[in-house]
């Protein structure tokens, strides 16, 4: 029979664990309606079809409409904290409070047409299949790369190919003061591959049917 103290302790620990778990989710609930008032800056790159980043490399900016809200929040926090190094995105995230991030993320989560995807992606070539197995991409991102096992992992199917390549490359970048991503999980995975292989992966995953969109703002008010 457990002593009162042990019971209290386990209850306290459970409560603590519970509160850590749900701290982000419970504390800040995103409101997409409020989010709409905060996205003027986002539209400037993410709301224009074909828009590209220009420095240091030219690549299409990632599509974020219909990306999962939790992932958007965690990305913004990564930019804010410096875990992801990207000066312009850092400047965006620096001015956003947790509530702002949640609102924006909630807005983009539901932004654009909902699409049902096939369960399985298209058959990869033997070469790409080898790379996919080595990276075990579907184990986190889902069989069709759009059903991540955790909401804070991104849907990547159909994402812009050049962006995927740049992102994968930046997980490999260590010790650069201005660029690179220091995510431990993705870092270990990406470092297994040469840049050419990352490009093949990016091309394959980017060509899969995906849920992600760019939804342009209406031209006229």
């Amino acid at each position: 029979m457990q002593s009162t103290f042990t019971r209290l302790l386990s209850a306290a620990l459970a409560l603590l664990a519970f509160s850590f778990q749900s701290a982000n989710a419970q504390e800040v609930k995103g409101n997409p309606v409020n989010g709409e008032a905060k996205i003027a800056m986002c539209i400037g790159c993410h709301g224009i079809p074909g828009y590209q980043a220009s420095f240091p490399e030219v690549y299409k900016v990632p599509m974020i409409s219909r990306q999962s809200a939790k992932y958007i929040v965690s990305s913004l926090n990564a930019y804010k904290s410096g875990e992801r190094k990207h000066p312009t995105m850092r400047s965006v995230a620096a001015g956003l409070s947790d509530q702002d991030m949640a609102d924006i993320a909630a807005y983009y989560d539901g932004h654009g047409p909902a699409v049902t995807l096939p369960e399985q992606p298209s058959a990869p070539s033997a070469r790409v299949n080898e790379l996919l197995t080595k990276g075990a991409c579907n184990s986190c991102h889902g069989a069709n790369f759009s059903k991540p096992i955790d909401a804070s992992y991104p849907k990547i199917a159909g994402q812009n190919r050049d962006y995927l390549y740049i992102a994968l490359k930046s997980y490999k970048t260590d010790g650069n003061a201005t660029w690179g991503r220091s995510n431990p999980v993705m870092g270990t995975i990406a470092k297994q591959f040469s840049n050419a292989e990352l490009k093949e992966l990016a091309n394959y995953i980017g060509r899969q049917p995906g849920e992600l969109h760019v939804v342009p703002q209406s031209k006229f008010r």
């Binding site: 400037g44 000066p87 620096a94």
Partner: protein, 294 residues
């Protein structure tokens, strides 16, 4: 045909007139920023800006004098040398002497104009021996300030347009009278008065331009490069500028607000910033440090 055209025209004018009447926004002048129906440059807050003012007045006066003389002659001729008053045409059509005269005289005038301008150009470019050096980084679409050298070094923050004003712009700003519309930021750039401030500009994406008309400065912020300019504010107060190089969708929404404080107030501000910094120990700060150390 003439009648209905005139009628349409007249009613169109009336319409336009009514429209114009409703257009007026009853705002006040913004000290350090634009004034209502402002005709000349901002009142100068630095010696360089004052120099620009006098240069401009000099140019205006010379140009207006030449304009009055030349077009006085032309309008006189239009009046006097008309066929309808019976003037018969002369037959002269060249004169080397006259051509030389009106080549040499403008040349001399232009050289005279160039002399004070040269002095001002050289003065504007001299960024040596600054008291404080601040890096202004243009982002899409806000400014980031990093204090690099001098009192306050290590302070680093992002300065964005107040989001409420951005939302206001979206709604068409109907019936609103804001003196600092599109000029209000969350974190203004703070500098002390009477100190030479060197602003280093760069960008992390496309070309922006850092400008504060009251100080007479404008410098492009170019990705991958550093440029610089300097100013020495001679009065305390708030001074405003806006991004001056097309940089994408939100080009109109990245203002610059410089707060010039007395030296004592500035030191106090620096202390609060540094206390805040050490209290938060933001990782972002470390990234900024690494950036500035580059």
């Amino acid at each position: 045909m003439m009648n209905s055209t005139t009628k349409t025209f007249a009613s169109g004018l009336l319409w336009a007139g009514a429209w114009v009447a409703t257009a007026a926004h009853a705002v006040n002048d913004l000290p350090g920023g634009p004034a209502v129906r402002q005709l000349n440059m901002h009142p100068p807050a630095t010696k360089i800006a004052a120099e620009q003012h006098s240069l401009h007045w000099m140019m205006m006066i010379i140009c207006m004098l030449i304009f009055v003389v030349v077009f006085g002659v032309m309008f006189y001729s239009i009046w006097k040398h008309r066929k309808s008053v019976g003037h018969k045409p002369a037959s002269f059509h060249e004169s080397v002497k006259v051509e030389i005269a009106w080549t040499v005289v403008p040349l001399i005038i232009v050289v005279i104009m160039a002399i004070p301008a040269t002095r001002a150009v050289v003065a504007q470019k001299d960024t040596s021996n600054a008291d404080i050096t601040i890096k202004a980084t243009g982002y899409q679409w806000r400014w980031g300030y990093d204090y690099l050298k001098g009192e306050g070094d290590g302070i680093s923050f992002i300065s964005s347009l107040d989001n409420e004003q951005r939302v206001l712009s979206n709604t068409g700003a109907k019936g609103v009278n804001l003196d600092n519309y599109l000029l209000k930021v969350d974190n203004p750039l703070v500098v002390p008065v009477n100190k030479k401030i060197r602003i280093i500009t760069t960008s992390s994406d496309v070309i922006h331009a850092f400008a504060v008309p009251s100080f007479g400065i404008k410098q492009d912020a170019i990705p991958g490069f550093v440029r610089d300019t300097w100013f020495k504010a001679e009065m305390t107060g708030d001074f405003y500028g806006q991004c001056q190089e097309l940089c994408g969708k939100e080009h109109a929404y990245m203002p610059i607000h410089v707060k010039v404080l007395s030296e004592a107030d500035y030191s106090a501000w620096v202390k609060t910033q540094q206390t805040k910094k050490s209290a938060e120990a933001q990782p972002a700060q470390q990234v900024a440090q690494a950036n500035t150390a580059k």
